[in-house]
Symmetry: C2
Subunit: 183 residues, 2 copies
DNA sequence: CATGCGTTTCAGAAATTTCTGAAATGGCCG
DNA sequence: CGGCCATTTCAGAAATTTCTGAAACGCATG
């Protein structure tokens, strides 16, 4: 398994960025490798390509799977597992956003609700601030739920609309788009 | 400086979440403390409230400032600095998103462009994949630019619209909202 | 039910990040 | 200038995360 310069650079970059993205270097590299590879790869190939230990590959793949970022294929007459990333980049983005939400937002939302359940305890400012934060997060997660339901094509539309968004909102009320939203 | 139970819990939670958010525990705690505090606090108060070292506080505050997440006030006749978080939660969200983009997305976009500049090198699949990824990221950052330009009120509108988003897009074309977007 | 092949687990080593105390810095005031 | 107060810097200590090699596991096959 030899990598082209292009692959090398891309993979190293993703390794470094891994840190900032809350995954570790190896996981980032494995992902990058799979992303650029037309053919699915097995663990041995990944190990060789990245010069890491076999066990590290195993852990990395496990991590990626827990993020739902890889697909697993098996080949007839070969009992090794082969891994790829989804072809549709939007699917990847959706997965990423969903997982980050699950890890970074949802636990906080739960915690905030829990804190609110305790009822008034004298610290009115803090209590108000917490309630406000909880409401904001709820609003955003609801929005996210909606976005998640949209298909790729729709999302691209929305994105492409770009600077028309503002004026769109102007017209929205006239179009009777304002339904009640559960809060 | 004594913390209520509520504050304690909230602060500890943010400390733990800090990891997942790419900031360290202390920074998360400092932020949480400031967030819940009606009055601005100085470094000494933070140090005491969180039982950490003075220098750790200093580093944490510096980090928060590099994220644009705190405001600094000075008091007449007192040369210590006092810190708060913005009142407007949307401002906080905007800052957070903008900073994360700066740290997590922009460097990758630059790298991808750089890789593309090298021109064809034989690995067509990888090159296509990279181009595709670059386009996707560009589209998303452009969308983000638009969102960033919107005021709080508009954003809340957009969010609140929730499940009407899909049908909104149905009508959009009829409204001649489709301008050219540079790609 | 033993063998072979591939994967996972796990304890400790290595690397990295975070935190601290001590010293350095900066600037205001008498 | 020299003392004072507040903050920052920084080298090393402490804590945490990541990585490895060895052993354990799982399972299809002869």
């Amino acid at each position: 398994m030899t990598l082209t310069d292009l692959q090398q650079d891309f993979i190293l970059h993703f390794g470094e960025m891994g840190n900032r993205w809350g995954i570790n270097r190896t996981v980032g590299q494995i992902y990058a490798l799979l992303f650029l590879s037309e053919e699915p790869l097995n663990a041995e190939q990944i190990t060789a390509a990245l010069s890491i230990s076999r066990s590290n590959t195993s852990m990395g793949l496990k991590e990626l799977q827990s993020w739902n970022l890889t697909r697993q294929k098996s080949r007839p007459g070969d009992r090794r597992d082969y891994f790829t990333t989804p072809d549709d980049l939007w699917e990847i983005v959706r997965t990423l956003v969903a997982e980050r939400r699950k890890r970074e937002i949802d636990p906080t939302l739960t915690k905030l609700r829990e804190l609110e359940m305790r009822g008034p305890g004298g610290d009115e400012y803090a209590e108000a601030r917490i309630a406000e934060l909880r409401e904001l997060i709820e609003m955003m997660t609801q929005f996210h739920d909606e976005m998640e339901r949209m298909e790729t094509e729709r999302l691209v539309q929305l994105m492409t609309m770009g600077r028309k968004l503002g004026s769109l909102l102007d017209k929205a009320p006239k179009m009777k788009l304002w339904g009640k939203t559960t809060t």
